[in-house]
Symmetry: C2
Subunit: 269 residues, 2 copies
């Protein structure tokens, strides 16, 4: 299940710049991006035809915990204000959807690109992981070198136009005594999903088995730890799967756009 290649060197004392990481992704390197380029903001990608752009922007306005929009391109544009690279090639992996069905998981989407695609960059919780580590909250998927586990919940997002779907969450096991700290620290980052949406009872979110995430990899929850759930930027992809727009491109879950924005820009005063 793990999609992780060697992590050697990527969290060295001299970490790569976003441009350096993007150059490697463009060359075909494929790896979950958690922990990469610390201090630089990572983002979910969703590209939809212009005629769906209003529905998605409204969906995001109505579901801000799951879909904090950081940037929006003009139709057909391949760079964004926060992303100086090429959106078609500079993420580690992409998913292509037709009528809501996953039709390809690929390293680049140049051949799939269309002039009417509007690209949305949506905040990603990887952004606050450095802040969690800084206050002593462990981040299990970094420790074990896996992709973060993500789950479809039974919570419905507020629909918008033709788009509807379930809330998707990411999960990090947190020692019980550090749960309040984790909530407090991440609450300061509302543009990257903010405080947790749920603590400790996966069944209450409709999650039957933590060891079988819908996206990403399972990680161990150890004695004395609670599973803590944050709204996840894969929620837009779940809406695509449910709502079946004719065409969409997204990042492969956990394989994010590394932007040129600094994490600190999305931290509250």
């Amino acid at each position: 299940m793990s999609e992780v290649s060697s992590t050697a060197g990527r969290r060295a004392e001299d970490p790569w710049s976003p441009e350096e990481a993007r150059t490697r992704f463009r060359a075909g390197w494929r790896v979950p991006t958690a922990g990469l380029c610390p201090g630089w903001t990572q983002a979910n990608l969703l590209c939809l035809p212009r005629e769906y752009a209003y529905d998605f922007l409204l969906f995001a306005q109505r579901n801000p915990r799951a879909c904090p929009v950081l940037d929006v391109t003009e139709p057909g544009e391949t760079a964004a204000a926060l992303f100086a690279g090429d959106l078609r090639t500079d993420l580690p992996a992409y998913r292509v959807y037709r009528d809501g069905e996953l039709v390809a998981e690929v390293d680049e989407v140049t051949a799939h690109w269309r002039a009417d695609l509007v690209s949305f960059l949506v905040g990603c919780s990887f952004t606050f992981e450095a802040a969690l580590l800084a206050v002593g909250v462990p981040v299990r998927h970094l420790e074990v070198g896996r992709n973060v586990p993500m789950y479809r919940t039974d919570r419905e997002c507020r629909p918008a136009g033709r788009l509807a779907g379930p809330l998707v969450v990411s999960m990090r096991p947190v020692p019980a005594e550090l749960v309040p700290t984790a909530a407090r620290v991440t609450a300061r980052y509302p543009a990257v999903h903010g405080a947790p949406v749920h603590v400790g009872e996966p069944a209450r979110l409709g999650i039957a088995d933590l060891d079988r995430p819908d996206f990403g990899d399972p990680v161990p929850v150890r004695p004395g730890e609670l599973p803590v759930f944050w709204a996840c930027g894969v929620t837009p992809q779940a809406a695509v799967m449910r709502s079946r727009p004719p065409f969409a491109i997204a990042h492969a879950p956990g394989h994010m756009a590394v932007t040129d924005a600094r994490d600190a820009e999305f931290q509250l005063p």
Copy 2:
């Protein structure tokens, strides 16, 4: 210049509910709404034809300080999730624009309503005035019973689609020693414009004369006070005037939609 009618009773110890205030507005009462229904969130209104709705939502995403969107209706809807009244009649005053020109300022817009209008409720800085008063920061327009002064600046918003225009700001005179407090307190309310955008030098914003606001009433700036400027939800109207969509309805500046949301919902943790 003042549009203020008697304020007797409206800030009594038993203040009106939003529904009570809306009932009075529906009956024709016309008054700036600052200080009314304390604890209840007030909002700017902009109604645009559906074909302009994406441009405006994108304009708001790109200019979040000036245009924090709190709620969006379906086309033609006359109520909103946060506003149980009738958007056509339950604000104290409206402005109607055709091709960017102000063609009417009226108490209700039933005769102007169209089935394709999408209504946007945008956060209003009146929401944080109770928090300012609570920490001892005076609010001059409340003291003198006037509408808040608002000014077009020479700062351009980031354009979106067919919409462009200047940043509009509201101004409150603040004693110099309380400026940091005013900044700190209002920073906790990003959904209603948040921290000030400028302090003390109106000319640096392209404001020639504080005594001649573009919207609302002038208020006195006293010795030892600095003019403090916050991004203002009249910015969308300035974009309408500049960009000339075929039709738009907005609140009359300072005459807001009193919503059913609580101020505390928009305060940061």
